[in-house]
């Protein structure tokens, strides 16, 4: 059983790491960050959890199989790619899929299929890293 200090720290670190991972994903389009890094940070949060407790504890905390993240992520990215096809645009041409939101106090927010694609990347990376580590650790 790993040290008490590690376990206690992990409890505090987990939410911070997960929030940070979402933060990286969110700001990726304009500042350093993005789905890839975000996914890695998210996965490392759970890997830290595994080191502090056990694989089984992580599986319980996850509440879903890390493998399904990979499939969902791929589907999401693929959907973002296919959506332009319905309007006669090439695969992954995001041109016609922008929504401009005016948020009082924040300024303008541009949402579009690139974000959806990036969330797909995020989930795939998250799932892949976690699946590999969990599988190896279980051995």
């Amino acid at each position: 059983m790993p040290s008490l200090i590690l376990r206690t720290t992990t409890r505090f670190m987990m939410p911070l790491l997960l929030l940070f991972s979402l933060f990286l994903l969110w700001r990726g389009h304009n500042e350093p960050g993005g789905g890839f890094v975000g996914g890695l940070v998210g996965a490392s949060a759970f890997i830290l959890y595994t080191l502090s407790f056990s694989v089984q504890a992580t599986r319980d905390a996850l509440a879903f199989d890390s493998r399904s993240l990979i499939g969902v992520g791929l589907m999401l990215a693929l959907t973002a790619g296919i959506m332009p096809l319905t309007q006669g645009q090439p695969f992954l041409a995001h041109r016609n899929f922008w929504v401009k939101l005016e948020l009082p106090g924040f300024g303008q927010l541009d949402l579009g299929t690139p974000l959806m694609f990036d969330i797909g990347v995020y989930l795939v990376v998250f799932g892949v890293a976690l699946t590999i580590v969990l599988t190896l650790t279980e051995e």
């Binding site: 389009h29 493998r67 790619g81 695969f91 995001h94 990036d118 990347v121 590999i132 190896l136």
Partner: protein, 793 residues
């Protein structure tokens, strides 16, 4: 859905159906079989048979009412390449379409009776229907490329059908043999078709229609004078000869008898093996009439014809006898197409019908005997007429047609055959071969259609039962048609065969002296009639003395083309084995070594010969902390190479990784640095997890291995360094980074260019990368979780 409704629908459908619907009909039927079969079970065969009869009815409506030039239909495919889904129904395609759908309907019913209760029956129906659709498409196609697609589809469905009992190794080997032989020929044919299209363009056709047979027909003379005529002819003949089992490619057909009998009766006697004959008949107006055509096609045909019949008489297995006699009949058709005179073509189109009727019937009879008696060895059969009278009559009629006994349809075919050989080139030789083959045909007919039903019963036949109607319906119908068409040939000669005859001959014959095909049982007292009579007598003598034939040389052992095929296949397998064991050692270190050496060799060679290396050594603007970082990286790698413990090696590698991340920070790439740090952390964790389970390194590399590794490492490192330094100076294209900078915000709404490139500008690359990642994860999972019980990774 009610049964009645479906039947009604399929019959109503035939009324308003157009040609394209007819082509896809069987494929649609194949798609609904998986739904239909669990509902109808035993009745599926009858239902599908009746539905196919509807398709037959659609084609039969055109008998006598086919407009000159036929009817056409087409859809666009790849117009720029001249590929179109274009179809043409003329006399020749109508003849084949009627055979395919008519016999197909009987076979579907027959298969239900033959394999009733077999667990693969549903699969058999699907495959038979897919085959039927491919065959209909093949004979209706006007575009040669569309024809090629269907041609290959028949090869593939034939492969699956021969290997129907896929749990038996013999069936699988036979299926593979048929696929490799016909598939190989098909590839040659594709090359021939491409060349033919090019020559069509040279002869003045528009590129959009250069593969249309109907258009190529108009430039036949120009193509015959083209320098590429002979290559085209040889390539297309390779396709036709393999498909139609011509010597020396005939060996796959007898092997294909591994398939259940309904399949042999349908594919390997009545329809698919005639595809090669059909192709040559279809292309006759374009390619026939030259000396090359005459000699190659007719001599291959004549050899196949005699050889097939000769081997056939020596066999004792019913299906083998019939298979070799089919080879022989296909040779006969080739010979007639090779001769190419109006009389020969008349004989050919008639014999296509004659042969399909009697051979289909005899095959189905062989299946009935196998099914009800349990053996196909003719030496153990006898007296079956008492058990199965209807089958016996059907077999007798079919055999009589094969032996050309008047008044059956086969007699008319044989008369036309002799007529054309007697008035063709090298007539004494050709007629002699024709006579010998026909004589052997008589003996084969008695052996397969008469002998099993007469005489005393044997131990095997005493236990036999009568066959159900689903089994005898097919042979009885086909044999009955042989009799009806013999007595009343006018039923089909003008409405069908005469048009097919003209289609094969094309415009080559001048209209004034052209005698339209006309069939009659009686041609008066002439030499042909005498020859036919003499053939029958001689055939009976051969039958009585058949044991002599079995003892005759030659016995080739393995020195046949079949043996040659086996040797080539075994040779390829052993080459593959050697090559695999050399290249795929299974040790990661050798793979890495090979990759590094190849990369070093290729890149080094190119760099040394193609570029002029001007490395710029400028140390001036390197700052002190960059020096420090480089020293740290080098120390880290040396440390991990020299360390004796795995964990410290990993720690060394970790130092290298974090230092590289720091380098990225120095050079203004925060995204890269961030990713690098995370990846580095994760890989250290992964390594620790993996190595934790491994025993301590027992054996360290010896001095030689170390020296080798050092040399390779320095080489690949040096090459990579040179490459980076050189890349700095070589700019083949204007960099596109300016485009990204300019368009990132206005077009992609993002200020982080790196991320915009990842998700937007080069999104497809990212899509590929995450797919690779997903596959890698699945691979790791499968490797670790799904290994056999008791095994250790």
């Amino acid at each position: 859905m009610s049964l009645l409704g479906l039947v009604q629908q399929s019959f109503q459908g035939t009324v308003s159906m157009d040609l394209l619907t007819a082509v896809v009909a069987a494929f649609v039927a194949a798609a609904i079989v998986p739904i239909l079969y669990p509902l109808l079970r035993q009745a599926t065969g009858w239902f599908l048979g009746l539905a196919t009869l509807g398709l037959f009815g659609y084609f039969a409506r055109f008998l006598g009412s086919l407009p000159p030039g036929g009817i056409t239909a087409s859809r666009e495919w790849i117009p720029s390449l001249g590929f179109r889904f274009s179809f043409l129904l003329d006399g020749l395609s109508l003849l084949f379409a009627l055979l395919i759908t008519g016999i197909g309907a009987l076979i579907l019913i027959y298969a239900g009776g033959y394999l009733g209760g077999h667990k693969g029956l549903g699969r058999l129906y699907v495959l038979l229907l897919v085959f039927m659709g491919s065959m209909v498409g093949l004979v209706l196609a006007d575009n040669l490329f569309t024809m090629f697609v269907f041609w290959e589809l028949t090869s593939v469905s034939s492969y699956l059908l021969i290997g129907f009992d896929h749990e038996r190794a013999e069936a699988r080997a036979a299926a593979l043999k048929a696929l490799l032989v016909t598939g190989g020929g098909g590839l040659a044919m594709m090359a021939g078709v491409l060349l033919l299209g090019q020559m069509g363009i040279e002869a003045g056709l528009a590129p959009e229609v250069c593969f249309e047979v109907s258009q190529l027909n108009t430039v036949g003379p120009a193509i015959k004078e083209n320098a590429f005529y002979l290559p085209i002819l040889l390539l297309i003949l390779a396709g036709a000869f393999t498909k139609s089992a011509q010597f020396p490619f005939h060996f796959w057909l007898p092997a294909a008898m591994e398939a259940p009998t309904p399949i042999s009766a349908y594919l390997h006697s009545a329809t698919m093996v005639k595809a090669g004959v059909y192709l040559l008949a279809r292309l006759s107006p374009i390619l026939a009439g030259t000396v090359e055509w005459l000699w190659i096609v007719s001599s291959v045909g004549a050899i196949t014809m005699f050889w097939g019949a000769f081997i056939s008489v020596r066999k004792t297995d019913l299906k083998q006898i019939l298979a070799y006699s089919t080879v022989s009949a296909l040779g006969l058709l080739m010979l007639l197409l090779g001769l190419g005179s109006p009389a020969a073509i008349a004989a050919a189109v008639t014999f296509v019908l004659v042969h399909a009727l009697y051979k289909g019937a005899l095959f189905m009879v062989a299946g009935i005997i196998d099914h009800e008696v349990g053996t196909r060895n003719i030496q153990r059969l006898g007296g079956l007429a008492r058990v199965m009278p209807v089958t016996a009559v059907a077999a007798g009629l079919a055999a009589a047609s094969m032996a050309a006994v008047p008044p059956l349809f086969g007699f008319i075919g044989k008369e036309l055959f002799y007529e054309s050989t007697l008035h063709g080139p090298a007539r004494v030789l050709v007629t002699t071969v024709a006579f010998l083959t026909s004589m052997l045909f008589v003996a084969i007919a008695i052996m397969t259609g008469v002998r099993p039903f007469l005489g005393a019963m044997t131990d095997d036949t005493r236990r036999a039962h009568n066959a159900p109607m689903s089994l005898w319906l097919g042979p009885a119908t086909l044999a009955g048609l042989s009799l009806v068409l013999g007595l009343a040939p006018f039923l089909l000669d003008q409405p069908l065969l005469a048009i097919a005859h003209q289609n094969v001959l094309g415009d080559v014959i001048d209209a004034e002296h052209f005698e339209s095909l006309h069939l009659a049982l009686w041609h008066g007292w002439n030499f042909t009639l005498a020859l036919s009579g003499f053939t029958l007598v001689a055939g009976c003598v051969v039958y009585l003395q058949r044991d002599i034939f079995r003892a005759l040389p030659p016995h080739f052992g393995r020195w046949t083309t079949d043996g040659f095929y086996d040797m080539v296949l075994a040779g390829m397998n052993s080459v593959a084995k050697v090559q695999t064991s050399v290249l795929q050692s299974g040790y990661l270190r050798y793979y890495l070594l090979m990759i590094y050496l190849t990369a070093t060799g290729l890149v080094g060679y190119t760099a040394a010969t193609r570029t002029n290396l001007t490395l710029k050594w400028d140390w001036s603007d390197i700052r002190f902390y960059e020096w420090g970082l480089c020293v740290l990286i080098m120390l880290g790698s040396l440390f991990s190479a020299y360390s004796r413990s795995r964990l410290t090696s990993i720690a060394g590698l970790g130092v290298v990784g974090y230092c590289v991340a720091l380098l990225f920070v120095f050079y203004g790439a925060p995204d890269l640095a961030m990713t690098q740090i995370l990846i580095e952390t994760l890989s250290v964790i992964l390594f620790v997890f993996v190595f934790y389970h491994l025993p301590p390194s027992k054996k360290l590399s010896g001095p030689f291995t170390r020296l080798r590794d050092i040399v390779v490492a320095i080489a690949i490192g040096g090459i990579a360094t040179i490459l980076v330094l050189q890349a700095e100076q070589v700019k083949y294209f204007t960099p596109i980074s300016q485009f990204f900078v300019e368009n990132s915000v206005p077009k992609a709404h993002g200020r982080n260019i790196v991320n915009v490139i990842l998700v937007d500008f080069r999104g497809l690359d990212t899509m590929g990368e995450i797919t690779v990642l997903a596959v890698a994860a699945v691979g790791v999972y499968a490797l670790l979780k799904l290994r056999p019980q008791g095994g250790k990774a």
